[in-house]
Symmetry: C2
Subunit: 355 residues, 2 copies
């Protein structure tokens, strides 16, 4: 049994854990272990927004362009592609890349091919929408949790190793306690922090930049049933998925009331747009605390949680995991081109700079 | 908004809370406020065990005797009477009295009428069973929580006042944080602590004394629908009660696996044995931590919790509450006369003194 917090990130606590020192988790779980030289990562969610079959070809062309752009110098070795229809009826394709160093990411972002494509007047005129939601959490600002030990997805692709069985899971509050910064920091935004629009007008289309704030939390919570046998497919598709979808739809539609800025349940696809048997949820929250409060009290999430508790010890090929980060406002980028005004962080953003 | 921890019991923390300083609960709840001169209380659960209609008259006679005995000098002003059938098919009647000073309780216990009745050979020969489960938590060892503000039940009967709206509720871990001792102490039993039989043999009947250990937790969790209107009666009887009963039956029958030594869902009765529209659960746990783990993860309790969350802000006459304590081993008394061997703390007690 080891701590979820890697040895080089452990420090004297000013904030105690919520469970006694002899706490024993009810089943095994693991976390990713990154090379100690990695200090900060970049998670780049690069989006394409279209509507209906007519725009599908154009949208998938843009997706292919984004995927290709990740193969350039300073790009990423690993990416996912997903699709979802949002509650305004728009198709959204997201290519997600993970960098193990924000400096590399910045070089990639500023490379002529990437920069010129994004700033091109064609992005305004070619009839579909685009967005970039990018955060760069330091290694003490994120955590992972896997019910398996191989081929780690998401930020796990940057991890060279997997932990032994970790202690900090199986109780409410363990997510926070896996984030190394929780040893000394509550990771709270300031009371006056809000999302605000830095440039553009979401209701007029065109280019919009939204500024975030310190300690916005991002959760990616995933399911991979590609290799699952009959029983585990049924477990996921019949027992877990419907409740999960209900909970995630609730957050998509009512997130503003509970501190969830944006919530997208996405389905993995291949580069041609064909669905594969993987999905995940992407949730942006005002704070880790708001995420905790919702997760601990909403019936749909509690149902998911109890189902997971019941089956976690016996999972074979059904892969369940999550990664959660907080990031500093300065390490966040939220940009939109011709997306509808409820897209991503635009929905809850207020005009003008924060007070 | 005030702290659940009364001002005179607040102290510098060595253990932090689990929520940020600006945490705001989702609906109001209150705690009892006792006179600051009260340092320790005694909770005396005085039981009568019988079987079937044939023994009902004798059992109710014993109940009446116990109730009368509480009116003697050094008795209590307040008591409850309850009945439940346990999972061995026995009827159990419990008279519960609360004392605001263990010294007064001890004088009561040692008074000739109480002492002679308990030690009398008649208790061995009169054909029914008896038990006394008594704990004396200090005021820093217990907490209360009420969704109402008047006529506090249980230990609340010792309280002269009610708090304003308190901060520490609405999140997992708040129960612990309402106990003043949690500021500096994990309230954990030692790993080697067990229940053990001090004298007698549960399987032979007669008199049995069980020794507890430090930090056994006792929860009394109650429902009072005497004054509830049609809608709230339906809410309790149709929505809350069936799930509650399922959860409490689970603990009654499977408690040993999760650290619950004894669990009794009891119905309030009058002194003639007629049911009234109040009930509560009496749960003895190895530790507060085991109680937390079960409450936070078991489907039945999570369903009760989400229902409560949904309705808590609108409760009118339906009264929901709980009180939770830990106590030192030296402040616990568990005695049984002619009770079946699965009664109370006997079930999980091992022979002989602990190592």
């Amino acid at each position: 049994m080891e701590s979820a917090i890697d040895t080089h990130l452990a420090c004297p606590r000013s904030i105690s854990r919520r469970v006694p020192a002899d706490y024993q988790p009810p089943f095994p779980m693991w976390v990713g272990r990154a090379d100690h030289q990695i200090e900060q990562v970049t998670m780049g969610y690069l989006g394409v927004q279209s509507r209906g079959e007519d725009q599908r070809f154009a949208a998938l062309g843009a997706v292919r362009h984004l995927v290709d752009s990740l193969s350039t110098a300073d790009g990423t070795q690993h990416h996912d592609i997903t699709h979802h229809v949002d509650n305004q009826g728009y198709d959204n394709y997201i290519v997600v890349g993970y960098w193990n160093d924000p400096a590399t990411f910045r070089r990639w972002l500023r490379s002529p091919e990437v920069d010129q494509w994004w700033t091109s007047e064609d992005r305004i005129t070619d009839g579909i929408g685009y967005f970039r939601e990018i955060i760069s959490p330091r290694v003490d600002q994120f955590e992972t949790l896997y019910a398996f030990q191989e081929q780690l997805p998401g930020v796990g692709a940057l991890m060279s190793d997997i932990s032994g069985e970790i202690n900090e899971h199986g109780y409410w509050g363990s997510m926070r306690e896996r984030v190394p910064l929780s040893q000394t920091d509550w990771m709270q935004p300031a009371e006056t922090d809000t999302l605000h629009i830095v440039s553009g007008d979401p209701h007029s289309g065109g280019r919009v930049v939204v500024a975030g704030h310190d300690n916005i939390a991002l959760i990616r919570s995933g399911q991979d049933w590609r290799e699952a046998g009959v029983e585990e497919r049924a477990l996921y598709l019949d027992e877990i998925q419907p409740t999960l979808q209900a909970g995630m739809d609730f957050l998509r539609d009512n997130g503003a009331d509970v501190g969830c800025y944006s919530n997208r349940m996405v389905r993995n696809i291949d580069v041609d747009g064909n669905p594969v048997d993987e999905s995940y949820n992407i949730g942006h929250w005002r704070s880790l605390e708001r995420l905790e409060r919702w997760a601990e009290s909403h019936p749909t999430h509690l149902r998911i949680f109890t189902t997971f508790f019941k089956v976690a010890g016996d999972l074979d090929k059904l892969r369940l995991y999550h990664e959660v980060s907080v990031s500093s406002g300065a390490d966040q980028t939220f940009e939109y081109i011709n997306c509808h005004p409820a897209t991503g962080m635009m929905r809850d953003a207020t005009p003008g700079p924060a007070a």
